[in-house]
């Protein structure tokens, strides 16, 4: 792996041969509205199409148009590309393209760069009419050099102005051209990408962007000594590349569901955007409800009327939907609920990553509300879990939840093109006559399962209710009936849990430390654990997909390790900080659950900094945990 970049004598250059590297992390940072994400997503897409492993993470400020040239306003994207499968955003960047001198500080604060990181910096600020801006640029330049970054000042604005009147519109495609040269991307793929993203625009706009793309490419070729080649992955399979929200949206199509009832909320909404664009051509519709509560009420109405529906939201939306979630369980109505988690509590960090909704999804409702909760760990799983969720919702007559997060939602990753199966799609609504000798809640003694009559089925008439009810769905006035019905509603999930497999342990199944994770941290945990294992540390990991009910055999797995620890992106008290003792320390969310489930002293590392965890961070946690125990 080429960790740092050799920058040879600049700027005069000879035709250089591309240096072969295994992988690189590239960042583009800018003010909002400069198209950095579009540029980066395109670069990722071109790279994926050239057969590279790819992972992207968007850097999104909280506002649509924050003040220009501000640290907190940094908007952009990180793209990690490699000749192998890439599963996370990695550690520090190798190459950064900065459209001004202030936005990199937003990333420096997050330790995103290191000594040797190459920074391609827009130089127009050096000659800005505003003296303050010129001074800031000079200071930043000096500071970047002191930090050990290899800064190359680049006349992006001037070069773009040779082609367009307003460089702000289009500079991103010039940058894409520059990146395409640096990483030896095929220009035909770049051209095709530009034609695709501007497909709804006029030919003039497309041609202007193509012109910028080639200009950026040629400028880099003539002026930069940065030229790399990243070999493609060896893949026999057809691949697709998309982000997690797109995968959720396509998963909805693949599940055969016909209604997505939603209310706009970051970072979940783009899944519904995709559906809004394509659903009508595949027999479905998006309903934008008046609020989160109405969104789930509408979805429940659709499900009740025969076809399981989906509602897609984030943590604050789940909070508002809580009462309906309880009702759907009580009335045993199939439903798919997608929670694209973000930072909380309250409005929290709407554009940032957190795994903070596990406990609220599990226990947010009053009373006993057992349920199935799936946690997607990869973008591929975002797709497949929707199909699974729809099937489970109908088989077990229950809401099924899918937890993803902001990291998966906007991250792009290639995965094998799904091989479509007919049984993914839901069946037409059953309208055959109902056997009137069967109650609407004819709970099976052994499994707790029952079959539901659907409106239109003659003889199945009944009134579902959120009140305690008997098998006939009649309001219950007998104390023992609520006990009994609660038990059946619980038993079906115990029956379901019996069908699950023990989760695999990655690494040896005995050792000093077992890391337990869930959701989007999979790739970073995997990379960190592999590094630690390579250095001889006796560490393994387990990654959970079923958060409720848990996969079986956890206690048996845990008992083979001296220590067990979860790695999560949510809040926990740090052991040694003031006031915390074993009697008051608050654990991270999965950790609480595992302690209760297994009676094993499961520790945790977690934070709420709103960033995906890097492999380095996790590696350091592993080393520290093992050292602490030695003392």
């Amino acid at each position: 792996m080429s960790d740092t970049i050799e920058t040879k004598e600049m700027p005069k250059k000879q035709v250089s041969k591309a240096t072969k590297i295994d992988e690189h992390i590239v960042e583009i940072v800018s003010d909002s509205g400069e198209g950095a994400q579009k540029c980066g997503q395109s670069f990722a897409s071109i790279s994926a199409k050239m057969g590279n492993g790819v992972w992207t993470v968007e850097i999104i400020p909280a506002e649509i148009q924050p003040p220009a040239r501000s640290r907190a306003g940094a908007s952009g994207i990180r793209i990690r590309i490699g000749s192998k499968k890439i599963t996370n955003m990695g550690n520090e960047a190798n190459l950064v393209i900065a459209l001004n001198d202030q936005v990199p500080y937003g990333r420096i604060d997050q330790s995103a760069y290191k000594e040797g990181t190459v920074m391609l910096l827009e130089n127009k600020w050096a000659t800005d009419p505003d003296e303050d801006i010129r001074n800031k640029y000079a200071h930043a330049l000096e500071d970047f050099n002191q930090r050990g970054y290899k800064v190359i000042e680049i006349p992006m604005e001037d070069e773009c102005l040779k082609i367009v009147k307003n460089a702000r519109k289009g500079k991103n495609m010039w940058v894409l051209g520059m990146l395409s040269y640096i990483y030896s991307r095929e220009t035909e793929k770049g051209e095709a990408q530009i034609k695709r993203i501007f497909r709804k625009k006029s030919d003039t706009i497309i041609n202007s962007n193509l012109g910028l793309y080639h200009a950026g490419y040629n400028w880099a070729k003539d002026n930069l000594n940065l030229h790399f080649d990243i070999a493609p992955m060896k893949s026999e399979e057809d691949l697709v590349v998309m982000n997690g929200n797109e995968a959720i949206g396509l998963g909805v199509l693949a599940s055969g569901m016909e209604v997505c009832s939603m209310y706009p909320i970051t970072p979940a909404t783009s899944a519904s955007h995709l559906l809004a664009e394509v659903f009508d051509k595949s027999g479905g519709l998006v309903h934008q409800a008046e609020d989160e509560i109405a969104a789930i009420g509408f979805a429940i109405g659709c499900s009740y009327a025969g076809k399981t529906a989906v509602t897609i939201t984030s943590g604050p939306g789940i909070a508002l939907k809580t009462e309906f979630l309880g009702l759907a369980t009580m009335a045993e109505i199939p439903l798919v609920v997608v929670d694209v988690q973000r930072g909380g509590p309250s409005t929290g960090l709407p554009t940032k990553v957190e795994q903070g909704d596990l406990l609220s999804v599990l226990y947010g409702q009053p009373g006993a509300v057992p349920k199935i909760v799936l946690a997607a760990a990869t973008i591929e799983e975002c797709f497949h879990f929707v199909i699974l969720a729809r099937q489970l919702a109908e088989s077990f007559r229950t809401p099924v939840y899918i937890l993803t997060d902001a990291n998966l939602a906007t991250g792009q990753q290639p995965f094998p093109r799904p091989k479509i199966k007919k049984d993914w799609f839901s069946l037409p609504i059953d309208q055959s006559p109902w056997d009137t000798s069967i109650n609407p809640f004819e709970w099976d003694e052994d499994t707790g399962l029952s079959k539901r009559p659907i409106p239109g089925q003659v003889g199945g008439q009944h009134t579902v209710t959120g009140l305690a009810h008997d098998r006939g769905s009649r309001v219950s006035y007998k104390p023992e009936e609520n006990q009994e019905s609660s038990e059946y509603r619980s038993r079906k999930f115990a029956a379901f849990q019996k069908s699950l497999n023990k989760p695999p342990v990655y690494g040896k199944d005995k050792g000093d430390l077992l890391i337990v994770g869930w959701g989007s941290t999979l790739g970073a945990i995997e990379e960190a654990v592999e590094q630690a294992q390579g250095e001889g540390l006796k560490v393994s990991y387990v990654h959970l997909r079923f958060m409720s009910p848990f996969e079986p055999g956890l206690k048996e797995i845990f008992d083979n390790f001296k220590q067990v620890m979860t790695i999560e992106i949510n809040y926990s008290d740090k052991k040694n900080n003031p006031q915390y003792t074993e009697s008051n320390r608050r654990y991270s969310q999965l950790s609480w659950l595992l302690r209760a489930r297994t009676l094993v002293d499961v520790d945790c590392y977690s934070n709420v900094e709103g960033q995906p965890l890097t492999p380095n961070r996790i590696y350091n946690v592993i080393v520290e945990k093992l050292e602490t125990n030695k003392k």
Binding site: A48, K49, G51, D238, L239, V240, V241, M242, L250, L253, A254, G256, E258, V259, S261, V278, K281, S282, G283, G284, L285, H287, A289, E290, I293, A294, A295, I296, G297, F298, A299, I300, G301, C302, S303, Y304, A305, G306, K307, A309, E323, F324, P414, R417, K422, F425, P453, P455, G456, Q457, V458, G459, G460, Q461, T463, V464, T465, G466, L467, V475
Partner: protein
Amino acid sequence: MYGLKSELELDLASKHYSLEDYEKGVARWCPGCGDHGVLTNMHKLLREKQLDPAKTVFVSGIGCSSRFPHYMDTYGFHGLHGRAFPVACGVKFRRPDLDVFVVTGDGDCCSIGAGAWIHAVRYNMNMTVVLLNNEIYGLTKKQTSPTSRLGTISNTNPEGSILPPLNPVQTTLGVANASFVAQTADWNPAHMYETLKAAYEHKGFSFVHIIQRCPIFQAALGDELTSNKDAMVYLEHENGITVNEDIAKTFKNKANHDPTNLSEAMHLATEDHHIHMGLYYQNKNAPCYDDHGASNLGFTVEQKEEALNIELDKYAI
């Protein structure tokens, strides 16, 4: 029994529904409660329209009136406080073949469910909505409702309520895309029946405001309303709701009102001293959201598979 005769005359091969086909259980409302009369009329309406009980869905929220679906031998959904409308709209969205009814109360609709109510009016989906307004919270035992008259003594306002009441007819008329707004009262079953019938026949969100007595918590108000014959005004019009001459004669006051005239409807709704009985407003051409909902039904698995393939192609490497 009522209706038996007509059944005997029918061709035995085709199912004819009698009142018993719509009745279920014994209603557990208090004796004298206005809900009983609405239930009886609803059974009659379904029989008159020969609705298939299996294709009829009653949706309600929470409150005395929201127990209604439990007494109908149709499909029913007794959901959450204030949330009958989103559920009913979801039921109707992809099932144009179902007849949907919503039964709600003044707390359910005008207080906790006010947001959903406003938007349901605007969606204008084809369903019949009855708001049973007794101006008090009954099931939770006498708290002030948003429709309680100024000065109403209740457990939450022991010195009398402080705010002027919300007027459900006025509010509904004020919402964009309102298409059917009528008012009737529980103590005039004949007028109520005709009103429910007209509401059912209207394509769109038919909102029927039923002034209703609560003999337990609003007994005095009920006495006042039923005894003051001067207050009731029968709205007459060829396009309005008409009752037979004998019933019409019982009204001392009558007014001619064209139900296409929204501003006049609003004027009548806000006129304090009278209770207007009949159709305030109807717009037969208001767009219905359920037409959109039913616009792409019935895709086969093969069609869905093909559509998915086309979408996946866009992401192919």
